[in-house]
């Protein structure tokens, strides 16, 4: 038995976390391939054309974050609910279903031409493929829904028989929202404007809506554990954060409705509400730092606390500041669909979602592995090196893409028809920034390797013989 877990069934989180990190590594490798294709255009062509590499890069991101959220849920819901998971067996079955379906889909992308994959999977009958981030074949999308339903059933039954806390209720709301919004991926009207309008109900209402609830709940859980601050205080903060997230983010979706054929009032609604979207992320920064300053115990897992503060700060910078930079309609008119969008996307996803998953992994993994409430000092030092290398690399990636984007806007977007530079000519002009971005990408990979190596040393001299009460007091 693992004495470091409050509930034995929490251990089903382990395969989810491990698989998430494996996919993360794959995501980074394909990111590097694309980074090189940006400057050496025919690299790996035609074996892995850019569109395939990108599909693998973004789909791996989505899937590893989903695995991370699921692992987080299997870990924290039993602990918050003060009861064993309803069915660890179901969690294991769904793990394999999702892992196999995910792996097959990625292999399909890599081994079969996309049109062939569409044909094989009957896309003609109910076309859903070939839209950004929703490239999965119909059968994979159905698989995602089935896995999500089983997952929500399992957790729902757990919460129902156990204690209801703000943390587990917000987590459940976020996860149910995630599943419900994904149903819009089956909506693909013939009219492109309609298609784009509903497409955002998956993409925006995930990342600027319900995922923020998931992020807030995980952050609150880890902060309760790491700081020992009174639950009442943390729960109040959590409510404030998610209230701001939804109040600004729901109508903030309008910032995607500026130029796709939707009516003009979205220019105003989208600008005003999305300009307020940094607020919940700013509140998360205040939240994390305040709680850690007011901590009532010195938790030995310093790395987990670093991730918790880091995710708040980087989410604020990436989603909040870099989002705000181009969210006002008069600015977005020039920046829409340039490298500025790419810059924002990279830092926002890393800061908010990659880092929150690594926060819960950092907190939970030593316990899941039966090591204790913290890994060895050496492991933590390595983990923090990984943190800083990846985070600083991401800052550089964002800055270089922003520079490329500003130059692109200047050359290609601002001049009149006759003077404007073509897309391809502009890309040549900004190539230096793509090279620098690639170098920063290599630095990110180095950080990832160091981060992975830290797991090998978690047990190394970690205080094995912890006081008997340890597993109980958090």
């Amino acid at each position: 038995m693992n004495a470091h877990l409050k509930y034995a069934s929490q251990s089903v989180a382990t395969p989810y976390f491990v698989f998430a990190l494996i996919l993360f590594a794959g995501q980074i490798l394909f990111g590097l391939i694309m980074g090189l294709q940006y400057v050496v255009g025919d690299f790996l062509f035609p074996a892995i054309p850019f569109n395939v590499a990108r599909m693998v890069h973004t789909n791996l991101l989505i899937v590893w974050l989903l695995f991370g959220f699921m692992g987080a849920a299997y870990y924290l819901i039993p602990e918050e609910s003060e009861t064993e998971l309803y069915s660890p067996k179901l969690a294991w079955i769904l793990f394999w279903v999702f892992a196999v379906a995910g792996a097959l889909t990625i292999l399909g992308y890599l081994l079969v031409p996309y049109a062939g994959l569409a044909k094989m999977t009957g896309n003609d009958l109910w076309p859903t493929m070939g839209r950004e981030f929703l490239e999965q074949p119909f059968v994979t999308k159905v698989g995602i829904v089935v896995v999500a339903l089983g997952f929500l059933f399992n957790l729902g039954m757990t919460v129902l028989k156990g204690r209801k806390t703000v943390v587990n209720m917000v987590m459940m709301t976020g996860l149910i929202g995630l599943a419900v919004m994904f149903l819009f991926s089956f909506v693909n009207p013939d009219n492109l404007v309609r298609d784009k309008f509903w497409w955002w109900w998956v993409v925006h209402l995930w990342v600027e809506g319900v995922w923020e609830l998931i992020m807030g709940a995980i952050l609150a859980f880890v902060l309760i554990k790491v700081t020992g601050v009174d639950r009442e205080v943390i729960e109040k903060w959590l409510y404030v954060i998610i209230a701001m997230a939804l109040i600004t983010g729901i109508i903030g979706m309008g910032h995607h409705y500026f130029w796709i054929g939707t009516p003009g009032y979205w220019l105003w609604l989208g600008s005003v509400f999305s300009a307020l979207e940094p607020l919940p992320f700013f509140a998360m920064v205040l939240f994390a730092f305040n709680m850690i300053n007011r901590r009532r115990r010195q938790h030995p897992n310093k790395a987990a606390a670093l991730w918790a503060m880091g995710t708040a700060v980087m989410a604020f910078l990436g989603a909040g500041v870099w989002g705000f930079l181009h969210t006002l309609a008069p600015v977005n008119y020039y920046t829409h669909g340039t490298q500025i969008t790419a810059a924002h996307g990279h830092m926002a996803f890393y800061g908010a979602y990659a880092m929150i998953v690594m926060t819960i992994i950092s907190y939970a993994m030593p316990r899941l592995r039966g090591i204790g409430e913290a890994p060895s000092n050496k492991s933590q030092v390595l983990e923090m090196w990984g943190f800083w290398l990846m985070t600083i690399a991401m800052v550089f990636i964002t800055l270089f893409l922003t520079a490329a984007g500003v130059l692109q806007v200047w050359l290609q977007r601002i001049p009149e028809d006759a003077q404007a530079m073509s897309f391809m000519a502009t890309q040549d002009q900004v190539a230096i920034f793509y090279w620098l971005r690639l170098a920063a990408g290599v630095m990110f990979l180095a950080g990832l390797v160091v981060y992975f190596v830290s797991f090998a040393y978690q047990r190394d001299g970690a205080a094995e013989a912890l006081p008997a009460g340890d597993s109980a007091n958090a």
């Binding site: 850019f50 569109n51 990108r54 896309n123 839209r131 013939d190 109040i247 109508i251 009149e416």
Partner: protein, 146 residues
Amino acid sequence: MAETFTKGMARNIYYGGSMFFVLLLLGLAWHTEKVIPERSNDLQLTESVVRGKLVWEQNNCIGCHTLLGEGAYFAPELGNVFVRRGGEESFKAFFKGWMAAQPLNVPGRRAMPQFNLSETEVDDLAEFLKWTSQINTNDWPPNKEG
């Protein structure tokens, strides 16, 4: 936060605020749906345009290009390519030649795969791009380079 601001108040703002904005979004979605046909020339949405959209999707064009600014940033914007490459007079001829010539095999240049589309498919795709160029996009993109 002052002690006078309680957890219950925060919770009520969360429930009340999100409920209000969900309802507002539903209302706006209903109205937007109603005006989309007019803003997108729904009457011109022929069978060929619909088939062309499927060709667009099933070859993952969005994996390199943007369409109305959304997609990947590796290759040119195509929402206005109909206008940029000849319009009514010569777009179709240009497009047919372009699709047939891929990949261009210029060393080091970004390469577009050969998709082996049939003549009908190329024509449908052209119709789809033409229809897309006529959507009322609030005057975006700023110039013809997209």
